[in-house]
């Protein structure tokens, strides 16, 4: 390796000696006609569109409502090899609850079910699966992406994650600690930091759209397993949720 380093240094030195003088002298001066390409009439105007604009033909969306109120949306995409299954709840966003509670609940769904420990789920991959939790102001959910041929297994796993989360107390403490770190990381941009401080000052810890989604230091300290369990019970109910399946 040392010999490689020496060779590299000597080679670069040789090139730099060869090109010493005025910066850019190795480029030479521009030569010949600046535009050697002959002109042509068709170049003087933008090409006309070819036919009319075609609209994307959206795949057929199939819709059903299960007995428990869960909406089922299925989109078949035969050309793709990958599939995704997503469980989305319109009650689980972070706008209308204690700051930090919705985020920690969504994240905890990936930290173990009654059947699998959190390590398997947060891995975050099981074989070809990618399991992710997502959250927005007015909705949250879990998405699994996998090979299309594994769609059934993915949906079964999704059902376990959403219906039978473990909410292990140790995992909850670990999650709250990492949420604090993430909150800090998101504040390392000066604007983000100032915004968080200003919002906290203006609105305190109230459940408002403008409060930091990660929660504040105070609101995170007040989060308990009981709160998380209750929030999950009322927010991820089938009647306020949809199961979306896309794939071949």
């Amino acid at each position: 390796v040392t010999r490689g380093w020496l060779t590299t240094s000597l080679a670069t030195l040789a090139v730099s000696l060869a090109s010493c003088g005025r910066p850019g002298s190795e480029l030479g001066r521009p030569r010949g006609p600046l535009t050697p390409t002959p002109d042509a009439p068709f170049r003087s105007a933008p090409p006309d569109p070819i036919g009319a604009e075609r609209w994307i033909e959206a795949p057929v969306l199939r819709h059903a409502v299960l007995d428990n109120g869960l909406e089922l949306l299925v989109v078949e995409q035969p050309w793709t090899a990958l599939g995704a299954a997503s469980y989305a709840s319109r009650n689980a966003g972070y706008a209308d609850t204690t700051p930090g509670l919705a985020v920690v609940t969504a994240a905890m769904l990936l930290r173990g079910t009654e059947f699998d420990d959190g390590r398997v789920l947060t891995g975050p991959r099981i074989g070809a699966f990618a399991v992710e939790a997502w959250i927005a102001e007015n909705a949250a959910g879990i998405q699994i992406e996998t090979f299309g041929s594994q769609a059934r297994a993915a949906i079964e796993l999704l059902a376990q994650i959403v219906r039978r989360p473990a909410f292990d107390p140790g995992e909850l403490q670990a999650r709250l600690a990492s949420q604090s770190t993430e909150s800090f990381a998101s504040s390392t941009f000066v604007e983000g930091h100032l915004e968080a401080l200003a919002l906290e000052q203006l609105y305190g810890d109230g459940p408002r759209l403008t409060s930091p989604a990660w929660g504040t230091k105070r609101s995170r300290a007040a989060l308990t397993r009981e709160l998380v369990v209750e929030y999950h019970r009322t927010s991820y109910v089938p009647a306020a949720s949809a199961l979306i399946v896309v794939g071949p």
């Binding site: 390796v1 040392t2 590299t8 480029l27 521009p30 010949g32 609209w55 050309w79 099981i126």
Partner: protein, 458 residues
């Protein structure tokens, strides 16, 4: 997709061969075929390489034009010359008024850009398929009719824009200054880069344009909703008449690069978080090794033996991994964000002590799982015309041929615990890594990053 029909039509076939251990239930294994038409390749008489791939799934066309010139081709003392040239080519041409190229792109493309990396300059646009000819017209103007419209006024105006973008590169440059010898083309411009930009004159940009923005130094990739014959006739119309300029092609100089053994590079600058990076330099691109690195990165990113050690020691919450490919070299980087007041040499010692444990987790089952994930990444490239075009460009830049998912899957399938163990020994040994310490210094005492390269004590 019907397998026989797919073969009959000459389509790409990505079948995941059941290279599976017996304990995996057959039902849980991915087994399917994906079909997209094969890319067609040809070269025009003027040297322009053309890759066309019909993809009729959506009425859009992705057009990418790549020039083999990047910031590593900037002459010493003229930092940002290639980047400045990229900006200048968005100006007027013989047939486009000032600002017209932006207007056409804004009106007809929902994703377009130009980027200058260390090795390449890429222009891309995604347009509705009925506007397929538009990006070809714009790109042919850029390649053949832009130079004559370069003026002092535009040069000065673009210099201001490029200076405003310098901060975007500052972080990469900070490390690269310490890593690469000053005469190496990957060594970034000096701290006085603004003076270097001021020193660029019209002759410099004209000379670089003539020697690099030319059909024999470029390739074009088109993927989307078109008939190959039609797309080919359009490429011929706009690009075949382009004449190569008189000056010869600019030779590319990229000497092979490896780190000296056991060094630590320390960079002091104001920063929120102190970071330790373990960086390995990789040999020139090789498909099989690239697959091995992807699989290894997947295993480490999934569940690694180091994070627990680092957490328990109170050093860091974990690490991020990055694989970067450049011409004739590459980098495998593991970055740790340190907790407050942690001595970075402690992180180094833990990394050195923990690294051999990586080999212990390379079980057949784990490697198979990671291979599935990496295959999934390959299949994601097939999702849209744009992702396919990007994949073709990546392969053409580094391997000289268009993207082949079936080849990619074959290389991934060949990865084994033994090949990963060989990779660790041959290219990712603890001794061979460069340790980079990004340290914090007070803003008040800060003038410019202070860098030192020292031998690491075991």
């Amino acid at each position: 997709v019907n397998r026989r029909r797919a073969i009959g039509l000459g389509l790409w076939l990505v079948a995941l061969a059941p290279n599976v251990r017996a304990e995996h239930a057959a039902a849980s294994r991915p087994a399917y075929v994906v079909s997209v038409a094969k890319p067609m390749e040809h070269r025009l008489a003027n040297g322009l390489r053309v890759v066309l791939q019909p993809d009729r799934r959506a009425p859009r066309v992705a057009v990418h034009v790549v020039y083999r010139v990047g910031s590593a081709d900037d002459p010493k003392g003229l930092g940002e010359l290639a980047h400045l040239l990229e900006h200048l080519t968005y100006g007027p041409t013989r047939h486009l008024a000032a600002g017209a190229i932006f207007e056409h792109l804004e009106r007809n493309s929902w994703n377009w850009n130009g980027t200058t990396s260390v090795d390449h300059t890429t222009y891309h646009a995604l347009v509705p398929s009925h506007r397929i000819a538009l990006p070809l017209w714009l790109e042919s103007e850029r390649m053949a009719f832009a130079l004559e419209a370069f003026t002092e006024t535009r040069l000065e105006s673009d210099k201001r824009i490029v200076k405003n973008e310098l901060w975007q590169r500052a972080h990469d440059w900070e490390m690269a200054r310490g890593i690469f010898p000053e005469a190496h083309p990957y060594h970034p411009p000096s701290h006085d880069v603004e003076d270097e930009i001021d020193g660029i004159d019209l002759d410099h940009v004209r000379a670089l344009y003539q020697r690099t923005y030319r059909p024999d130094n470029a390739f074009i990739v088109m993927v989307g909703d078109f008939q190959v014959a039609h797309a080919r006739s359009l490429v011929d119309r706009y690009f075949a008449p382009i004449v190569k300029p008189e000056p010869p092609l600019l030779p590319r100089f990229r000497p092979a690069f490896t780190f000296p053994d056991g060094k630590t590079l320390t960079i002091w600058a104001p920063r929120y978080t102190e970071v330790v990076k373990a960086v390995w330099s990789l040999p020139p691109f090789d498909f099989q090794r690239a697959a091995e690195i992807e699989v290894l990165a997947e295993i480490l990113g999934d569940e690694d033996p180091l994070t627990d050690v680092l957490r328990r020691a109170g050093v860091s919450e974990g690490f991020t991994l990055e694989v970067e490919q450049r011409l004739h070299t590459g980098f495998f980087t593991l970055s740790l964000a340190l907790r407050r007041d942690v001595d970075p040499t402690r992180a180094d010692r833990l990394l050195d002590a923990g690294w051999p444990r990586v080999a212990e987790i390379l079980t057949p089952e784990r490697v198979e799982r990671a291979k599935d994930v990496v295959v999934r990444h390959v299949l994601r490239e097939l999702e849209s015309a744009e992702s396919l075009a990007r994949a073709h460009c990546h392969w053409l830049k580094h391997a000289g041929r268009p993207f082949s998912p079936s080849q990619a899957v074959t290389w991934i399938r060949r990865v084994s615990p033994a090949s990963l163990a060989r990779l660790l020994t041959a290219h990712l040994a603890p001794k061979a890594r460069l340790s980079v310490h990004l340290r914090h210094t007070d803003q008040a005492r800060f003038d410019r990053p202070e860098t030192s390269l020292r031998t690491r004590t075991p």
